[in-house]
């Protein structure tokens, strides 16, 4: 009787290592580091249950995030992927928009690239505080909408948003440029001390601005005095 498996006798499975394997391994390693770093930040921040955007809280969270991300080697794609991981929340336990925004800002500030594009159009949640302390020489372009406190405390970098941003955009920024292609919310430029905000669409309301310039559709709307703080128009 013929062995029905005779045909397989000489068959050898050929599994060769291809570059995709090492790319995926390295990506997984980096993502795991970034995720652990975020969890570490949360361990500290979640103690305070309700996370408020206060001067001290933001500084404390950023200092911690900075300490963690400094050690990592990653690229802009890793940051983008981390944003989507956060959004899907099946791998990462919590998405607290405050610490998440601070952490992502720290990642951008310490990334290897000087210029980076984050394609965030399909995020379900909007990230707050993105662009915090963006330093001189760094340019972050975001495709998609962002939340509150976009470009907060910027330190000379350039933040370009292909979409909308919410309230308190450019709050406390010292220098640099924020470019928003669409509309922007209330309290724009609150405590702003320098730099420029360019808005392609409408500015819903200005905050208490110390210094700097705000443009709406290429027209200067600050420092000209014809609009009052927090005026709805």
């Amino acid at each position: 009787m013929q062995n029905p498996f005779d045909d397989f006798r000489n068959h050898r499975t050929r599994e060769r290592e291809i570059p995709l394997d090492s790319i995926i391994q390295s990506r997984d390693r980096v993502m795991s580091q970034i995720t652990k770093g975020y969890e570490k930040l949360l361990e500290e921040e979640v103690k305070e249950l309700v996370w408020l955007v206060q001067y001290n809280t933001v500084i404390k969270a950023y200092t911690l995030a900075e300490k963690v991300v400094k050690k990592f080697e990653y690229k802009a794609e890793d940051i983008e992927e981390f944003c989507y991981e956060l959004d899907s929340t099946d791998k990462i336990p919590y998405l607290i928009t405050g610490p998440a925004g601070i952490y992502i800002s720290a990642l951008c500030n310490y990334a290897q690239e000087e210029e980076m594009i984050l394609k965030l159009n399909d995020l379900k949640t909007q990230i707050n505080l993105l662009g915090y302390r963006l330093p001189v020489g760094k340019k972050v372009a975001v495709e998609g909408n962002l939340g509150d406190f976009t470009g907060i405390g910027m330190e000379g970098g350039e933040l370009v948003v292909e979409g909308n941003a919410k309230n308190y955009t450019g709050a406390g920024m010292k220098s640099g440029r924020v470019r928003i292609s669409k509309n922007i919310g209330l309290h724009t430029g609150e405590w702003m001390m320098g730099g420029e905000i360019f808005v392609g669409g409408r500015v819903r309301g200005l905050g208490k601005i110390v210094d700097g310039k705000i443009y709406e559709d290429d027209k200067v709307i600050y420092p000209r005095n014809y609009r009052q703080s927090n005026t709805y128009y």
Binding site: D7, T13, I18, L20, I23, I24, R27, E77, E81
Partner: protein, 519 residues
């Protein structure tokens, strides 16, 4: 032209390499020179024009082997089945939003997965083929991606940033395919938009390695794929949307046109019906069969002497020695036999379904009532019984649809899925003709019991002896009242449905101590 000897020579080698897939020997056809191969009903067909164009650039056997490797990898690895195909399409569409772009994205993703799997696990001349193939903008990006992730020179250099992003996707991790195709679609979305625009201006360009239509699947595989897809926690809306996107292709391959589906030629495919049909097929509800029935004919039991006046047909000729004579002739004493006259069987069923305003609209959201009724009708049809439907809202005011006993599934589902959304009242006189049209049919009523003339309904059901299965959706005082009034009726069983998982618990026609004669 591809010499047949080459195919005959290569085919055993390729089959062995792919562990003997159940595919017939490939054929050759004349077609457009920019499409390499196609697969219809498991038949791989190599395009002679494409072969002629590429054969002088690389070895003839290599061209055939590479094409077959590509086609077989789709069959054995990705998409593998129609369900995976639908899933990948749905995830791509979530990102790109456009139907055609989603199909293209899913097709490209399946190509990358199948080819990468083949290159990693088998010895294949596929990379050589990709080196020589004509490519559009998107195909060139995919070739550059192959170059990066396979680590081979394919003479491709396209959009580094896009390729870098694409190369981070774990194509060979099946568990992550849903997420992976979303990432893939997100990255190539802009390219697909440009390609679509170019197609509009320059005419349609096709995937050089063949399009991923439904022709590759058998009708049974399509049926199974839709069933799995409906059961994969996709809502009605999403199922409907995906189904509509494939509607024309499904028609082209003849899905829903064959007799087995119970649909005549030309009947439009209704996504709602298909959704409930596929879900119902997954929930098997048992039916208690009617007890066997005694047949009262007489059997010979013992002998007794024949007397004048007794019928001759009872004479036992063997023990009477051929004589008809009192005292000698013996006749048979006959008694009623204890054999059963009919086999156990399932009676026909009247399904009474409430489609009033308090019920869910089955065409907007998953309706437990329609799903329950669909499962019930499926159970009866599977047992060769027929089903009649009485769909009511405010029946006396015309809010009703009546279907006489039939075994045509599509007609039944069509009436079950009708939604009136008005008041709730039954016109009980209309049930009588249905009850008379079959031999003691079962009754299956599914409603939330918020019926205006509930008192009359209770009275009606108290006076009939048919087996009744009453299913009420949600808990309310009307249901309680109905249940209390009918509790003593032994021909009636009650079930409450609050979630989809309650439906399989229903046993149709299950009646405690059911003895027809005692009622």
């Amino acid at each position: 032209m591809v010499p047949e000897e080459i195919i005959k020579k290569i085919w055993p080698k390729v089959r062995t390499k792919h562990l003997f897939p159940e595919l017939p020997i490939p054929k050759v056809s004349e077609g457009r020179e920019n499409v390499a191969l196609e697969m219809k009903n498991k038949q791989i067909t190599i395009n002679a024009a494409f072969y002629d164009k590429i054969a002088h650039k690389m070895g003839v056997e290599e061209v055939v082997e590479a094409l077959l490797d590509h086609g077989i990898s789709h069959y054995t690895y990705c998409p593998w089945d129609f369900h995976t195909h639908l899933r990948l399409f749905r995830e791509a569409k979530r990102v790109v939003k456009d139907k055609e772009q989603a199909k293209r994205a899913a097709g490209l993703f399946m190509d990358v997965v199948a080819d990468t799997h083949c290159v990693k696990e088998k010895k294949t001349p596929l990379p050589e083929l990709y080196k020589h193939i004509d490519r559009g903008k998107v195909d060139a990006v995919i070739s550059s991606l192959y170059q990066k992730i396979w680590g081979l020179d394919l003479c491709a250099k396209e959009d580094e940033e896009v390729v870098r992003r694409l190369s981070r996707i774990p194509y060979l991790d099946k568990k992550q395919w849903d997420k992976s195709i979303q990432k893939f679609a997100r990255v190539i979305k802009a390219l697909l938009e440009v390609e679509e625009e170019e197609d509009r201006q320059e005419g349609n360009q096709t995937n050089p390695m063949g399009e991923h239509g439904l022709g590759g699947y058998t009708l049974e595989e399509i049926d199974q794929g839709l069933r799995n897809f409906a059961n994969q926690n996709v809502g009605l809306k999403e199922f409907k949307e995906t189904f509509e996107d494939f509607k024309d292709e499904l028609k082209d391959v003849g899905y829903g046109m064959e007799g087995g589906m119970g649909r005549g030629e030309g009947t439009p495919l209704d996504a709602d019906l298909i959704y409930y049909m596929k879900l119902a097929e997954s929930y098997s509800i048992p039916i208690k069969k009617v007890p066997m029935e005694k047949r009262g004919f007489l059997n010979p039991h013992s002998h007794c002497p024949w007397e004048i006046g007794r019928p001759f047909q009872d004479v036992d000729v063997w023990t009477s020695f051929g004589k008809i004579m009192p005292g000698i002739t013996q006749t048979w004493n006959k008694i009623e036999g204890s054999t059963f006259g009919e086999r156990e069987s399932v009676p026909d069923c009247i399904i009474i379904i409430d489609s009033s305003g308090s019920m869910t609209n089955p065409r907007k959201n998953l309706s437990y009532a329609v799903l329950g009724a669909a499962c019930a009708s499926d159970a009866y049809l599977r047992n060769d019984a027929k089903v009649a439907v009485y769909n009511f809202s405010d029946a006396p005011m015309g809010g009703k649809a009546i279907l006489n006993f039939t075994a045509e599934r599509v007609k039944i589902y069509g009436v079950l899925c009708k939604y009136f959304g008005g008041g709730t009242a039954l016109n009980l006189n209309e049930l009588d003709p249905l009850l008379d049209a079959a031999k003691e049919p079962d009754i299956f009523i599914i409603t939330d019991m918020k019926i205006t003339n509930l008192g009359k309904v209770i009275g009606y059901f108290q006076n009939i002896n048919n087996r009744i299965t009453a299913v009420y959706i949600g808990e309310n005082t009307y249901a309680l009242r109905f249940r209390e009034a009918m509790e003593k009726k032994k021909n009636m069983s009650f079930y409450n449905v609050t979630k989809k998982e309650d439906i399989p618990k229903i046993v149709l026609g299950k009646i405690e101590e059911y003895f027809r004669g005692n009622l």
